[in-house]
Symmetry: C2
Subunit: 203 residues, 2 copies
């Protein structure tokens, strides 16, 4: 892979994807979940419906070279753990925060896809009245759900006592299924609308 | 500089600061504006007052090595331009979005510190009812202001016709001066409260 600096959005976008080397495909077009979400975010941005971005992958830089007449070159760096989820932004005055994960499983979503720091971040954001959720992609089933972070946190915090995964049946019951489209490919704002209505009713 | 992977928050935090090699000091303690803000964000997070994080510096990765029994090592990467501002998060249901900049000037804040993509991002976030602002640090004067993004955008968009900087007098009049403290070092939420009250009155 030899992409040279400087270049456009496309390449920095590739760079952000690199750390997660996944063979999983997203739909028959061989696109990945993250790409589909980035395209959806771009659609929402362009149509002034929401401003949501994926955060850059956090990198710890150890050594940088500054060649004459060309861009600074990072010669040594490592991937570091994020302290937040991957996506956040604003939608009609609401703070949105989410994580997107996929599984090949057919009957449940493994909780090992989520990490303590993400769960804690969700808890912190919910305490500030943020709208928090996970986008769960069942790659084999080709089904996509939006799950309220409250449900995810409960399942995650109960792992020790109970299941290590969330049954598909539970997700079907408590989550919001998203029908994939062309543009946006993952119309998650439709799910967010339902989530907001639910939160407002619960509150 | 030889920090080795894996390591804690502190180092990834250093990594995030590295790209901007600035000799500017923040107060007599030789700390920088960004560090002061990160500490303030940490304070707000710990005290459950707000969840605000600096976004990682976007990097375009070209070459990664995967040594046996040790962490993946990035061997070639470049800094890329962000498409957003540096800080965002949630505070009492409000989406916060801001950029922090400093100047050694004593009478005005140069607009060259801000870039088209940041201004456009502010406009997009304001259209979604986000709370957007700049934190302006006059390093020589040791004075810190929170300036509503509306004011910044107006000054920035009028550059061609008018001034290339915002006079301190204008910032004193339209901005909110922040009195620096120990914890949080930059108590910007006090300014945000005023901004929210203003927005609510204006709306």
């Amino acid at each position: 892979m030899t992409i040279h600096y400087p270049n456009g959005t496309r390449s920095s976008y590739c760079a952000q994807n690199l750390p997660k080397i996944q063979a999983n495909t997203f739909s028959n077009r061989g696109m990945r979940l993250e790409e589909a979400l980035n395209e959806s975010n771009q659609y929402y941005l362009t149509h002034q419906l929401a401003v949501v971005h994926k955060k850059p992958t956090p990198i710890q830089i150890v050594h940088v070279e500054y060649p004459k007449r060309s861009a600074a070159k990072i010669k040594e760096a490592y991937f570091t753990q994020a302290s937040t989820t991957d996506y956040n932004g604003v939608y009609q005055g609401y703070y949105l925060d989410f994580e997107a994960k996929e599984t090949k499983n057919k009957t449940s979503f493994p909780l090992k896809n989520f990490h303590e720091h993400q769960i804690r971040h969700f808890e912190n954001c919910l305490a500030q009245s943020g709208i928090c959720f996970a986008i769960l992609w069942f790659a084999t089933l080709q089904r996509c759900f939006l799950l309220d972070a409250h449900d995810l946190i409960m399942a995650w915090r109960n792992q020790a006592a109970g299941r290590k995964s969330i049954p598909l049946k539970t997700i079907e019951k408590n989550g919001i299924e998203l029908t994939l489209g062309i543009a946006p490919r993952i119309p998650y704002l439709a799910g967010v609308d339902k989530l907001i209505r639910k939160e407002t009713h619960d509150g």
